[in-house]
Assembly symmetry: C2
Homo-oligomer: 110 residues x 2
DNA sequence: TCAATTTGACGTATATTTGCGTCCAAATAA
DNA sequence: TTATTTGGACGCAAATATACGTCAAATTGA
């Protein structure tokens, strides 16, 4: 019997792991990076920036949207995307929280 | 220069995404956290700390070992595991590098 | 109105991850 | 020696992720 057992871990670890997973694909990192560098919404085909088909890119966009990291605004027949600064800040904080817990400054292997 | 800037850039994204992926499972986060909190090598059965079977935990340990984040030392019939502080520091730096690139301080959605 | 454009929804095929059972080698205890 | 403990190697099956083709709705221009 093979099942997903992730719900057996405590909430904090699950949340942290889930955020790492959202960021665990170069296409999604690239989209975030692009939107950040544009410092604005961009219209239309993000897929031209990536070595992937349009629908695949859309899939990644959808994941980022569902995670709340980006927002889409419909403008006529097009859609503008932009980062959600609040959520980005939140994620940074959550990840930072985990990483800072790995205190290796005085780590000793005994 | 053998590679174009674009290629180097993509390599960087792939590396960053790969590290996020290593951390994208609560079991692996838990293992790292446990080793960190123990502030030492621990001997033997980490699976008692996790809601997973021994072989499954071993699988996650193997991934962390292959990623270089932890080290195993054989002691007779047992194995001691400990964090690899250098690698942990390196990963922190790589992740920090990506996150700090998402500069939302003056982000404007135009 | 009608055709073209844009983009999301849906389905599908493939690849990868996850969880675990089984077996085996090495060290140790009896 | 033999039995036991420990943990890695291997392989299987289910779950999930990835990539993309197709289709339909909405908007816009002719």
């Amino acid at each position: 019997m093979v099942q997903s057992k992730t719900d057996l871990f405590d909430e904090e670890l699950k949340t942290q792991a889930a955020w790492f997973k959202v960021l665990a694909h170069p296409a999604r990192l690239k989209i975030l990076q692009y939107l950040s560098e544009a410092n604005s919404c961009i219209t239309g085909d993000l897929s031209e920036e990536l070595p992937l088909g349009r629908t695949t890119v859309n899939q990644h966009i959808k994941e980022l949207k569902e995670a709340g990291l980006i927002q889409g605004h419909i403008e006529g027949v097009r859609t503008k995307y932009c980062l959600n600064p609040e959520k980005i800040t939140e994620v940074k904080s959550i990840i930072e929280q985990f990483l800072s817990g790995l205190n290796v400054g005085d780590y000793e292997c005994k």
